[in-house]
Symmetry: C3
Subunit: 271 residues, 3 copies
């Protein structure tokens, strides 16, 4: 399948170029994000003060904005870095952690989407549904985790069109769309939801791939698929042991990923 | 023993309900706290900005306040969230990390205890002794780590009465009291003190149990006992390997805890 | 060799005294720094608010300043704690993470070096070269990672003289100098660069040793050598598994280090 070969090639390119990925992210999962970026073969830099965020973005190959533990100080940095990235054609990945859970997160999500051109938006169904509600021309869309895969496809396409970006909704089946094409990924394991930050790490991986390609659909598919495959490998090793070992095995698996593993394990479904 | 059965039942209830636990905590051990909460079966949320802390508390089943790396900004959030939790009858767990070590920690501890009704207070003997000194009607109590178990019992009871809360003093033998009843727990291993954050994780576990029960004595006993048992299991596996593996094995053990293990391993002593 | 025996003795002394090490550091690698300090046998304390940093420094045996995720608030605390440490003859270790990468980091590095007497400066060749450029009487030194070991020696000596401190440049071969003597260390493995924070952990270890000795050259050599040896041990165990396991194995190895291992594995080269 064409997409599988593209993901394989992009991983090879990432490892050759080792792009610098600027993360303005939360303090809960930041260490795992840095280690996931290193494990896949890229190079992380974390910097969140307004006095330097724009210049750090300027020397980076991509920018990942994650609002997991946002505050007034870092939101200003996210906006400034996002605009700088736009100016320099550096891809922006946005992870709207907890959108829908508080007014502050909702307002910040709106502010970022209004002021920054986001290239890839990655979240779970609740978060992206909240954003779909923002963008609906009619009454707000109201989607919960229980909604069917068809709804995820509709929401991904609609949000992608509205914001002219790639949308990745991760869940039991991941749905990635640029507004026209839709790629579903059936990798991963539900044990991934038992480790904090697997979503954040996925966004960090997407940012790593976007740092070496302006084909953002493929970059998003690659990042999401790598985390899903790593989760399956980790599950096989750690299911009997526990989620501490599972957590470590995810990073192990990311560091050992290669073309053969992707070819064998990736389960893509193009619509 | 009655308390053992209650802890077993509370673990089953926690896993059925998976309560949302709001943590305003430090950036050193926050990832471990989130993963401990997930491992025991609850759901963590970390949010510390004044613009959202009250609303995040409102949707949570318990609030854990930890002053490990406090600053002016987060102390304001702790107070606001604590008051909101009181208003909504959401249990508040307070971990006064380092009380006694600086004026700022001492003042913040006083401020929280004066302005927020704390339901469970968990700390080591030095920290709770500092608080005992605050509340003593006579001259300040001055207790060091070397004090005997009898002193821990007296201090736990006295502080519990003064603040009308459950007090958990963790150490070689843990002492939990609501001011009348006293339960001692002889689980754990001294290797736990060689991993940063095992105290913070214990408070996070106590918060997880308090999220599904208003019997705060049992919730505190359950959280403290689970960490102690996990420490013993981890020690058996990792003593020869080192404290990195021991750290991961704690999370593994928490995720695999069940009624049988509690029944077999918990060592409670009711006074 | 004399230096090897000194390192062995210093490790024994560290484990006997368990010095308190105050860290004002970044939120990416802080948990690993705390666990590395515990693993080697010292005791970590993290506190970064201006309301308490000076008093926390006062009760500590050393202060480690790390600008990995600096911001205006924490820079003020670094300066205040640094001055307090100087006043009380408490050793100051400075890790200028990312110096050269942004004006804010550059300015902060200058500010710290101008206002605080730093006893040990630890960084990679790029960071220390940036500082060498600051101190050059002629036009700025411009050294990149590709420069030879001879340059590292020249830079280490020059910066050590200029700031009257010990300089540790870590890399494939580590170079430690007090401006006169030079000790090279050939331990470590390049896999260490695939885990975030191994540099930060090295500075934390150096701070641990400096907490029990005012022979800062030996303290710096001890901290750098311990990380290098731990990296080699971890590599043997984890090379086939991945960098998650390698990360954990570093902490394991630090916790199991002893005189015999140092005697057998340390590779020092005095010039």
């Amino acid at each position: 399948m064409k997409i599988k070969k593209q993901v394989e090639d992009l991983l090879a390119k990432l490892r050759e170029k080792s792009p610098l990925v600027h993360n303005i992210t939360n303090y809960v999962t930041v260490n795992d994000c840095a280690n996931a970026i290193l494990a896949i073969g890229a190079s992380p830099i974390m910097a969140d003060d307004i006095k330097e965020t724009e210049s750090i973005t300027s020397i980076s190959s991509s920018l990942v904005i994650n609002i997991g533990t946002l505050n007034k100080r870092t939101v200003a940095s996210m906006l400034a870095s996002g605009k700088k990235a736009n100016e320099l054609n550096i891809p922006v990945i946005f992870d709207p952690v907890g959108s829908g859970a508080s007014e502050f997160r909702n307002d910040t999500t709106k502010e970022i989407l209004n002021q920054v051109k986001v290239n890839i938006l990655r979240g779970n169904l609740s978060e992206i549904s909240f954003i779909a509600g923002l963008s609906a021309s009619t009454k707000g869309v109201d989607v919960s985790e229980e909604d069917s895969k068809n709804d995820a496809v509709a929401i991904a396409k609609s949000v992608a069109k509205k914001y002219d970006c790639v949308v990745a909704i991760t869940g039991a089946v991941d749905v990635i769309s640029d507004g026209e094409k839709v790629i579903k990924i059936s990798n991963g394991h539900k044990m991934l939801s038992k480790v904090t930050g697997t979503g954040c790490m996925t966004s960090a991986l997407v940012g790593s791939f976007a740092g070496v390609s302006n084909d953002y659909l493929t970059a998003a598919v690659a990042g999401v698929a790598c985390m899903g495959i790593a989760g399956e490998i980790a599950y096989k090793l750690a299911q009997e042991i526990g989620i501490g070992t599972f957590h470590i095995a995810i990073i192990d698996a990311l560091s050992k990923l290669n073309s053969e593993i992707i070819r064998e394990m990736a389960r893509f479904n193009e619509e």
